[in-house]
Symmetry: C2
DNA sequence: GAGCGAAATGAAAGGGCTTTCATCGGCGGG
DNA sequence: CCCGCCGATGAAAGCCCTTTCATTTCGCTC
């Protein structure tokens, strides 16, 4: 019963079943139709130069006619490139990251790459597993806004061992060698805090992020600015949060302190927005009694309860630039993009810190 | 020079180069190490039952030791399944869709599927090309919040021709046979409009969406509600928009009309949020002079300038349910999920329409 | 101790494409 | 008139894994 072993797809006979109706068209089908080799068709599909003009047009015609679509899985396997890049962000609900995703996708598309977006939900282990899946899927490159705690070498070692180029965005994990696109977090922290100091605040609280570089860096900048202004850093004035819900909670705790803060700097906009909700609920006025500043300039920040002052980091640009760097790294031999692109953070002053002109 | 044809990867000699340092570990490497067949290793990896306990543990040990990761591209080709499903949404910046994405991903992950999220940016042709790429990538299924105008049969015909199961979410394209998860758009339109009528509004304007089912349906519901209440439908009171920026513009036009509307129903929350910005800028008070209602209950709606009344559609649930249906369709023989799941829309009353209790 | 079925293993044949390299025919130059 | 070269075409060998089905080896039953 040897013939039984023949195999899958097409009936039973041999290698020549013409076109079992429902199966997608393959290179081979076209080649047989036209009495040319699979190679020739493949070359036409890929736009190789060494195909006769006449042959080419015959093939092209048939391709259109049969509506041939290359099978990218097979192509990826053979070519050892998938033309997929992975993007891992911690929170898609924060439009700051959605915007980065948009930037990445729109920069990658014209280069022929698809972007697979993953949401790690600020969960380091979920993130790790997402990255592993992406690697298993043989992505050509990775863009990461990482959740990883500063000491998590392992994942990056794995990526590097695989030789997959990657770019860090927004969160600069402790890999000085890795390419990075984003703002200087300490500068962000300083900028926001200095602004509040200028506006006359003296009891400035901070809702810090989780223990990733962005959180840590902004906290540091905040402390530096306080120190530079000769203000005492009150330990109780620093809370932790990750998004609007936790920011709300954090702010409630801050509001229960005895000398109530006269300003809150949220490490990102959702946290600051949540804080504003808590502040208003507690009956304080923004900005008269308590001023608020966020960071990220997320899409809805100026539509919020009180339009939110924030530190802009040009999120779409981050995505595009990261994409550019990654594309270059993928193509180059060295497969390691270099250096960091530090985005100059800029203050966007809205009502939550007293508005553009008057100073308190 | 026959030997030159030998091929790629591993040096030159034969099929037995042991382990060219930098290449990823393959099934074959493990098999050779252990003197078993590739098959056996493959079975262990996939958790097949018919492997001896001892062999299994030897293999497992080696897998861990060498840190073997299956190559999903090869696996997908051989198994003719990718374990990838595609999700196409019109606007990731609208957290309503980000939430759906989250729901889909979290429901699919435990089933072993990865989700590829695509943002069509409300652009029908971009959407079409994204869907084609997903098909070319051999996705196992598709979840679509489609931008397509009602007459765009072509794409769906293509999907069906490929035999790829799909589920529609939030936007019910005119394919009565296709499975759908989302709210009844006319009900949404009615609910919002009736609420505004109850609150005493008589000149209710509507910022309608683009010409997709969600936009059309909600507009229809709005008109029905007006008619039912005996209110005249003023044609100038209907504007078009897609997001907060265009919603802002639309509202400005509405505010320039002579009898200024006393209410605006935005077909989605971003549009309504943009409208609120325009209204406040023009010096009107919300809700005293103009009331506003949106739809979708997006993540930041209650943090907005004036907390936004809206029609909730349980976005996370939509994603999860769609994922469930799709997974079933993928597994089943028929490959076509059935029926629609209509989510009961519910009103969420916040300040923008006068708050929960008092009735204007 | 022959016969049976189950358990464990593996051989062979692809999946649809690309890669490398050989071949073929025809042209101009020597 | 033969050589070598070029453009055009194709043959063969993979990419790494799964599928189908055959084989081998046991332990049992009767």
């Amino acid at each position: 019963m040897k013939s039984g072993a023949n195999g899958y797809r097409r009936g039973a006979a041999g290698a020549s079943m013409p076109n079992p109706p429902n199966a997608p068209v393959r290179l081979k089908d076209i080649a047989q139709d036209l009495n040319v080799s699979v190679m020739t068709v493949s070359k036409v599909v890929r736009g190789c130069a060494d195909v006769g003009a006449q042959t080419r047009s015959r093939v092209l015609a048939r391709i259109k006619e049969l509506n041939y679509q290359p099978n990218w899985v097979a192509r990826s396997l053979a070519a050892r490139r998938t033309f997929i890049v992975g993007l891992v962000v911690p929170d898609l609900m924060n439009t700051f990251f959605a915007e980065i995703a948009k930037g990445v996708a729109s920069a990658m598309r014209p280069l022929g790459y698809d972007v697979v977006i993953c949401n790690s939900e600020e969960d380091a282990s979920l993130e790790a597993s997402e990255i592993e899946r992406l690697l298993a899927r043989q992505v050509d490159g990775l863009i990461l806004a990482s959740v990883q705690p500063p000491d998590a070498e392992e994942i990056f070692a794995k990526i590097e061992a695989r030789g997959v180029p990657y770019v860090l965005v927004d969160r600069r994990v402790s890999r000085p060698s890795a390419p990075y696109v984003g703002a200087d977090d300490e500068a962000i922290g300083r900028l926001a805090t200095e602004h509040l100091i200028e506006r006359g605040c003296r009891r400035i609280a901070h809702i810090a992020g989780p223990h990733h570089p962005a959180g840590v860096g902004r906290l540091k900048g905040y402390r530096e600015a306080l120190a530079a202004a000769g203000l005492k850093a009150v330990e109780e004035y620093v809370e932790r949060a990750a998004d609007d819900a936790t920011g709300y909670q954090a702010a409630r705790r801050l509001l229960s302190l005895d000398p109530v803060p006269d300003a809150i700097f949220g490490y990102n906009d959702p946290a600051a927005a949540g804080a504003m909700k808590a502040i208003l609920e507690a009956g304080y006025r923004i900005p008269e009694q308590i001023k608020v500043v966020g960071a990220g300039n997320m899409h809805y920040s100026d539509l919020l309860r009180v339009p939110l002052s924030t530190v802009d980091q040009r999120s779409t640009g981050i995505g595009e630039q990261a994409a550019g760097i990654l594309a270059k790294a993928i193509t180059s031999k060295r497969r390691r993009a270099g250096g960091a692109i530090l985005i100059e953070p800029t203050l966007v002053i809205r009502e939550s810190s007293g508005g553009p002109l008057k100073s308190t």
